[in-house]
Subunit: 412 residues, 2 copies
Amino acid sequence: MRLSHSFVKTLHDAPKDETARGAQYLSRAGYVHKELAGVYDYLPLGLRVLDNIKAIVRDELDAIGCQEILLSTLQNPEPWQKTDRWDIEKMDVWFRTELAAGGELGLAPTHEEPITNLMKTYINSYKDLPLAAYQIQTKFRNELRAKSGIMRTREFIMKDLYSFAATEAQHDEFYHKAETAYKKIYDRLGIGEDTYQTFASGGVFAKYSHEFQTLTDIGEDTVYYNADRSVVLNEEVLNDEVLAELGVKREELQSAKAAEVGNIFTLKTKYSAPLGLEFMDQDCKKKPVLMGCYGIGISRVMGVIAEKYADDKGLVWPEQVAPYKYYLISIGEAGTKKAEELYVGHEDDVLYDDRDLRPGEKFADADLIGLPYRVIVSDRGLEKNEIEVMNRATGETKIFPADTFNFKTIAF
Amino acid sequence: MRLSHSFVKTLHDAPKDETARGAQYLSRAGYVHKELAGVYDYLPLGLRVLDNIKAIVRDELDAIGCQEILLSTLQNPEPWQKTDRWDIEKMDVWFRTELAAGGELGLAPTHEEPITNLMKTYINSYKDLPLAAYQIQTKFRNELRAKSGIMRTREFIMKDLYSFAATEAQHDEFYHKAETAYKKIYDRLGIGEDTYQTFASGGVFAKYSHEFQTLTDIGEDTVYYNADRSVVLNEEVLNDEVLAELGVKREELQSAKAAEVGNIFTLKTKYSAPLGLEFMDQDCKKKPVLMGCYGIGISRVMGVIAEKYADDKGLVWPEQVAPYKYYLISIGEAGTKKAEELYVGHEDDVLYDDRDLRPGEKFADADLIGLPYRVIVSDRGLEKNEIEVMNRATGETKIFPADTFNFKTIAF
């Protein structure tokens, strides 16, 4: 995209109440626009980041046989009453609304109930199992306090996956596939090295659940880990019983701040039993389906990545999620002529700063927007047959010959 | 996709209150699942249709320089109060909700107010204009009565585009570009021949608006047109004054039922004036920005196409929006072996009915699901080196040599 054609401009100030550094940059660089506390619009650059994250998540889930659907936001109270999650005392994040035609509805904060209900139409026999379906959809949670920019909001984009199995073995097999898919996803998102599968409380029905936690100073959680990080615990399960079971001693554990970027739960029959999702087994007996659920907050992950890698100049996007790979800056007449030539055919990878601005302003915007590579094509450089490329994450600079320059050959 | 891997099965019955034929088929064929009146889930086949429609819309809007964003659902009352559209008496389709932290919010039924507000951050000078931004997003309207399946719902997916101009000439130029883009969109969606740009009431600020109406017996509207359809009027503007202005006589007009598939409005300063969206003009005077809005209901269009082309056997999708292009049926042992070979590498174009069912059941499902081409690979056919292909829309059948068969060479 040409910056001269973009309606978004970088801003000098972030909204006053935006305290996290990455969140300030996301506003100032024009990725998001704050509507109200915990409610954001996504501008063209921000939407591209979301789309990149979604594409990676879809790709890995499709690879393990998951089927994509799209469930509704508006919720009938009935199934939620059956599982005892309709009352505000039981689930305090409900947004409620009233039908003009009469009757109360909720805005879905999660979708276990409707998907369990939906599957009653499609699961009848053990032959229909196992199966897994997911969606990427906007969810609503009536948080008392929203914070950390797009990391914890009232309206957010989530990937939620649900699995359905006939036996514990079937469930476990899929659960492990999902664990592996999640690790691949975080690797591809550029946060794999600092993201750990941690033991967390599983609630009433399963001993443990697993969270995926990314180490970062901005995180709201504290995790405890041993030296090789083969065991990582959430604070809530740090007790003698759990430590004994996992075979680690408290004094062997270090702590770090972390942000949750996903979670996976074994639900057993928590939703299928009250909602009557049963299958006819090989022994001709009806049994409740065994379920699991697997979440990744798409917009939250974008926020975590923004916070984790931000430096004192702006955002620093990993290549795989960056809205564009290259920030192309033209300086001078010959520089502009050459930059125009280079841009053609690379519109989808290159954010081209073709604006009539001083070089210093372009450099500052390049740093703030945080694309992986800054490419400078200037009159002075071209005189020496040089194009300068800077790696945003490391600050390292390389010179490439201008006459044979090709974006694809950039490597650091 | 292999149907043996799909969790969705075709159903014998549609929901009891689903009266429109296309809507019944959408439920029975497994494109949608009804949550409550006017609220639907989209299953894998339905999501693919939505994605195809979205891709066409995006492509044509990007081609005329529109920039994609994503605005929030949750709405602060303030800007809507300024334009006098917050009161239920003024806009009766609001869903309202309450913040746990205190304060009333609305679920956006449209987005003129928030985008006008947003642009106050980015539009300052005549140099920033013209510009156009759009989103594809879920909207909520508290309709007293929902009807015709996914054609008129309480929760629906809409593309809404907004244009911003400094002068009438600038506005008109974009408006005409949008008209042309809309015509291309309907052509590519397979409804171009029966979709007409019609004169409708423009409300207070513009003399006319334009609707795009698709002729179909299921439509809720009546349109009037002359023999060559160079003039098409919505019922609401069929009066002597308008007829005189357009130079047509009432007796020259025929009527037909039609369904609205889009609309475009000149808004002038209806929203920019009360919300204070101004720009500094070349004469150094501040002036309100001239706006236009341009809607296409993505899920509604899916419903209109379903209704318009359905026949007595099921759905009939135009090629460009069909979830898959080919419905591949294997019959017998050799047929299955050959079908498996053909399927490889075409997973994204082919819905492969590899289920262990009688041929008659597969044929019925093929008709109900309504993909453009049914491809039968059977033992009996292969003995004669034949693969039979049927065109779902016309019922025409062609025989292709099995040994050189290639999906890409199918043509009718």
